[in-house]
């Protein structure tokens, strides 16, 4: 049993180093690597009375059984297929989230944290949380602004939930699709390039949006330079992490294409953050801060965005 234990532990350590050196290995499924050692441990551990020929027979039998099992992978339309994407524990999800908060150049997220087990739980619920947090904090900002300046018309603004949801989910699914397609195309041209699977790309983008959740919550503080500072910090962290994650794949390509791809990724991320800031947390233009005599001239259903320090400076 000690030998079996050494085998499994050794494989665990070497796999990540192997994956770092040979990115192509990342596309193999984990069960392929495990099956030769998996049933060897069973054969050795199950009894010392087996002769050499019987061990070989056992191995071939078990290999045949395991291959059959692999061929019976659940089909696209079965529930079991999707269940394989939610095969994560709480500690794994928390570990992946922590991995996004600390970008380290040599520590690739996909190889060290995902380890060929991309999940859909993280991306889906992080996007849902971000969409609702955006809508709720934007509403809360309006409420707090109305508390300071009673001339602002407060309304629940429920349509922002719909807008936020559609924006976030489109970003988190369409951009990884485009990136994956582009990487596949480049792999067709440069054969030695590695690539991520579609689910790994979705995972990368989904987890990268996690930093925006505390950023949006900190945008409640109505000081504009602080808001821009937090936005810049979070965007820098998230974009750096994205670049570090994509770099091992992209560095195999020509410098021009690599630079163009990475700058496109960073630009799209920045556009998302900027769009959220401007749409959900608008700064009030000065013509709305008129004396009350002119207020009735405004149409009643114009949305009055929340005030920012211009009103605080005048009050």
């Amino acid at each position: 049993m000690a030998a079996a234990h050494e085998l499994t532990f050794h494989e665990f350590e070497e796999a990540s180093d192997l994956l770092v050196e040979t990115p192509d290995a990342a596309t193999l499924s984990r069960s392929d690597q495990l099956t030769p050692q998996g049933h060897v441990t069973v054969a050795v551990g199950s009894g010392g009375s087996y002769g050499a020929e019987e061990v070989v027979e056992e191995e071939s039998d078990k290999a045949a059984l395991l291959q059959e099992k692999q061929k019976q992978q659940p089909g696209f339309w079965t529930f079991g297929y999707y269940q394989s994407f939610f095969d994560v524990d709480t500690s794994q999800v928390l570990d992946r989230i922590k991995g996004t908060l600390l970008p380290r150049p040599g520590h690739n997220f996909v190889w060290h944290h995902l380890r060929n087990q991309p999940d859909l739980y993280g991306p889906f619920w992080i996007c849902a949380t971000l969409a609702f947090v955006l809508a709720i904090t934007s509403n809360l900002t309006l409420a707090l602004a109305q508390r300071r300046d009673p001339s602002i018309h407060y309304s629940p603004q429920f349509h922002k939930v719909t807008v936020a949801g559609i924006t976030i989910y489109c970003y988190a699914w369409l951009v990884p699709l485009a990136l994956w397609g582009f990487l596949r195309w480049r792999k067709g041209i440069q054969e030695h390039m590695g690539t991520y699977t579609f689910l790994e790309t979705v995972c990368v983008y989904g987890y990268s949006l996690f930093v925006f959740i505390p950023m949006v919550m900190l945008w409640l503080i109505p000081v504009p330079w602080l808001q821009w500072l937090f936005g810049g910090l979070a965007l820098a962290l998230s974009a750096t992490w994205l670049v570090f994650t994509l770099w091992p794949i992209v560095r195999e390509d020509t410098r021009l294409v690599a630079a163009a791809l990475l700058s496109a990724v960073v630009l799209l991320h920045a556009l998302l953050a900027l769009g959220c800031k401007l749409y959900f947390f608008q700064s009030l233009p000065p013509e709305y801060l008129v004396p009350p005599s002119q207020v009735p001239s405004l149409p009643p259903n114009v949305p009055l965005p929340p005030t920012l320090p211009r009103s605080m400076a005048t009050s």
């Binding site: 529930f79 999707y82 269940q83 994407f85 939610f86 095969d87 994560v88 524990d89 709480t90 500690s91 999800v93 739980y121 619920w125 849902a128 949380t129 609702f132 709720i136 509403n139 409420a143 407060y154 309304s155 629940p156 603004q157 429920f158 349509h159 719909t162 009643p300 259903n301 949305p303």
Partner: protein, 236 residues
Amino acid sequence: MAEAAESPGNAGTASPRPLFAGLSDISISQDIPVEGEITIPVRSQIREFDSSTLNESVQNTIMRDLKAVGKKFMHVLYPRKSNTLLRDWDLWGPLILCVTLALMLQRGSADSEKDGGPQFAEVFVIVWFGAVTITLNSKLLGGNISFFQSLCVLGYCILPLTVAMLICRLVLLAEPGPVNFMVRLFVVIVMFAWSIVASTAFLADSQPPNRKALAVYPVFLFYFVISWMILTFTPQ
């Protein structure tokens, strides 16, 4: 039987006797009743039950369903570890609660068509699609609860928030001000906590232990969004 037990011991010395040869000497006392029916008696009872629900009056049917819904409301209001919500699930309660909540949350006047609170359909969609998403999530994570049981539990646990909505509407009839808001905030927070406790009391056991937090977090988000809709409701 003692003869049969001793016979293997004597097998070497005496001629082998057939097994169970001694049984023919045992006589059955006339006092022990051996006869009975082979058919399962429950079956006939079920048949009687079925035909009786077809012939009963409409009032009986409605009252029976209302009593079942009311009993489940009591289980939600005083959450204990019981299986009633899971065993006899029904979706009448969630439907009644969702319709009540959506009607109360609907913005009244037509002037703020873009900026107002949620429409009836939006609340309905959020409640039902939210519950379906959470159920799918918990099933995908490996929980052993059925689809409709989970929908039933999530729907019934909206009851405290519906009560909060009623209270908020009553409080809003008074004059607006910070005290008004504080009272509403307090009520909504208490009812939100009650909903979470009630639903986790029923749902938490169905998940594998290392994924409980993963399954409970979407429930938290769901009730948080509903509480937010209730708190920000302003009558026009």
